[in-house]
């Protein structure tokens, strides 16, 4: 699928159906990053659905592994595996665990515990730099995840190593596990923090495909610096009763709620 808007719509619908069927959690964060994924997988990432392990592919690491429903849906719609397989999401003896799994075609790294993706991605970016290879490493982080100190170890090191092939994307939906980011542990000014650590930083509306495209198609933004895209997003984006509601970090839509949600996205 080449059209990012169409892909985003399909991914939202599929992700909603997946979490409903599996009675799974985390639909809010899956919907907040859907537009980012849609642009990444249609226009930015050099990946090949027919050869998921292609050596020269760009690496994509989902550090906020709990939001995997929209990544699995994206990969399925992009042809990495048949859509029907998503019916196994969260089911007994399924490879499709409800945190991202490297056993799924197109997935490079399993996460679930937060704060692991960026250090791992830094290592991959360092490997590419040392081997003089052109592929890039993209890491999708949540905002709440930035409470984890391991991220800041990597944020400190990456500019020192001049890893301009490393791109961190923060899905800044402003809500974490037990409340708003502002109440639990404020990040402001997140852009200033990354800049102080010597990253190149841009802030965009994480649901505006043109802005996402413009930002990610022009990395690295500054020579020898890693890039951090702070994408301001809405948790539960696209479903009115899910938007900005903490509850949808946990709840799974029942049949009636699913139909309501799907009707809003069609």
């Amino acid at each position: 699928m080449k059209n990012s808007l169409e892909l985003a719509q399909n991914v939202r619908r599929t992700a909603l159906q997946m979490v409903h069927q599996a009675n799974a959690s985390h639909i809010g964060g899956a919907l907040s990053m859907t537009d980012l994924l849609a642009v990444l997988y249609t226009e930015i990432l050099k990946v090949d659905h027919a050869a998921p392990k292609w050596a020269d592919r760009d690496r994509f690491i989902l550090s906020k592994g709990h939001s995997v429903a929209s990544l699995y849906a994206t990969l399925a719609w992009q042809g990495f595996f048949p859509l029907e397989q998503l019916q196994n999401y969260g089911k007994d003896n399924s490879l499709f665990m409800t945190h991202v799994s490297h056993k799924i075609p197109g997935v490079d790294f399993s996460t679930g515990s937060l704060g692991h993706g960026l250090p791992f991605g830094l290592g991959r970016a360092l490997a590419a730099q040392r081997k003089k290879l052109a592929w890039r490493t993209f890491v999708m982080l949540s905002d709440g995840e930035l409470d984890e100190g391991s991220n800041w170890e990597a944020i400190l090191l990456a500019p020192h190593l001049h890893l301009d092939n490393l791109i961190a994307i923060v899905d800044y939906n402003k809500i974490q596990s037990l409340g708003s980011v502002a109440d639990v542990l404020p990040l402001d000014s997140l852009a200033d923090k990354f800049k102080a650590f010597h990253w190149a930083v841009r802030e965009i509306d994480g649901h505006d495909h043109a802005q996402i495209r413009a930002a990610l198609s022009s990395v690295p933004w500054e020579p020898s610096k890693p890039s951090c895209l702070i994408a301001h997003t809405v948790k539960g984006k696209g479903v009115d009763f899910m938007e900005n509601q903490l509850r949808w970090h946990y709840s799974s839509p029942n049949a009636e709620q699913l139909q309501n949600a799907l009707s809003q996205i069609s």
């Binding site: 790294f109 399993s110 692991h116 791992f120 290592g123 360092l126 391991s150």
Partner: protein, 309 residues
């Protein structure tokens, strides 16, 4: 042992371009020759063990065999989840190297006493534990780990330990005891079984006891070779396990798990490990071993309690 380790790593790195060394700002007067010879395969990641281990996994995912190096508990407990999830679960070739196993860094205090490391790391999937007892074993462990890259933990003492094995030890195999130390009874059915830096201690005790006793060491072990352990125990009358680790969850616990519910074999096992009272005590390694019950006298006392066969 750390000298044997770095020398062997340098030798191996000349042959294996995939070897990469990541240090967390430790290794003064140890790692410099590696850094000088292989600058493209060396990184000081700063005092940041979680990131060091995570990025090591990332490097390993791209074809490197990464050795992470630090002291005591820093490369293990500080980043246990990175080892568990990023390295072991993904079956990536990362060897975590810790210098100062046991109570080697005695006077530096509890933070520097690595006495629970076997207990934690041996339970992670796909992990191989490498705990050499002398420089010869250290060299051979590195050779094995390079030839069999995977998630692994190399526990070293400090520097200056003597060689107890008279000969080099090519071809070490996980789960198989090393040949008996020459001075001890080669065919004895009563053995001290050691892993790590307790080899010398067991040797002293065995010399007191004469040819009925020998010393065997097991520097390489993992979950997958437990049946080999059981078979070797079954061919012996008495096995006194000696380890510089708390008794809870360590090497003797591992051997007992390997034997399972065979009560006859369980009855052949005796354990000498550190008593938990060493936690928080300060002093030299010798002092802490004594306080923890890891002495030649204690080993001899245990052998006197062995049931006659």
């Amino acid at each position: 042992m750390r000298t044997a380790f770095i020398n062997e790593l340098i030798v191996q790195a000349r042959i294996h371009p995939e070897i990469f060394l990541v240090v967390a700002d430790l290794g003064y007067s140890v790692v410099e020759p590696f850094a000088a010879e292989f600058p493209d395969r060396y990184l000081n990641a700063g005092i940041a063990e979680q990131n060091s281990t995570g990025l090591a996994a990332g490097l390993a995912a791209e074809g490197y065999h990464v050795f992470t190096y630090s002291i005591a508990n820093f490369p293990t407990f500080r980043c246990a989840e990175q080892i568990r999830n990023d390295v072991a679960y993904h079956q990536l070739p990362v060897t975590v190297v810790s210098v100062g196993g046991g109570v080697s860094y005695g006077s530096l205090g509890y933070s520097h006493h690595a006495v629970q490391d076997y207990a934690a790391l041996r339970t992670f999937p796909h992990m191989t534990i490498a705990a050499p007892g002398d420089p010869a074993e250290a060299k051979s462990c590195v050779d094995y780990l390079v030839k069999n890259p995977g998630p692994s933990y190399l526990r070293l003492g400090k520097a200056g330990e003597p060689n107890f094995h008279a000969d080099a030890l090519p071809g070490l195999t996980p789960g198989l005891f090393c040949p008996a130390i020459q001075e001890t009874g080669k065919t004895a059915r009563k053995i001290f079984l050691t892993t790590g830096a307790t080899l010398g201690l067991a040797l002293e005790a065995a010399k007191e006891l004469g040819p009925e006793w020998s010393v065997r060491s097991l520097p390489l072990w993992s979950e997958t070779v437990k049946e080999d352990i059981r078979k070797q125990i079954a061919s012996l009358d008495t096995v006194v396990i000696v380890e510089e680790h708390l008794s809870a969850g360590g090497f003797a616990s591992y051997v007992r798990e390997a034997i399972g519910n065979d009560t006859a074999l369980q009855g052949r096992i005796y354990s000498v490990a550190l008593d938990a009272r060493v936690c928080g005590l300060v002093g030299s390694q010798k002092f802490l071993r004594k306080e923890g019950g890891l002495t030649v006298d204690h080993l001899l006392q245990v052998t006197r309690n062995v049931s006659p066969k």
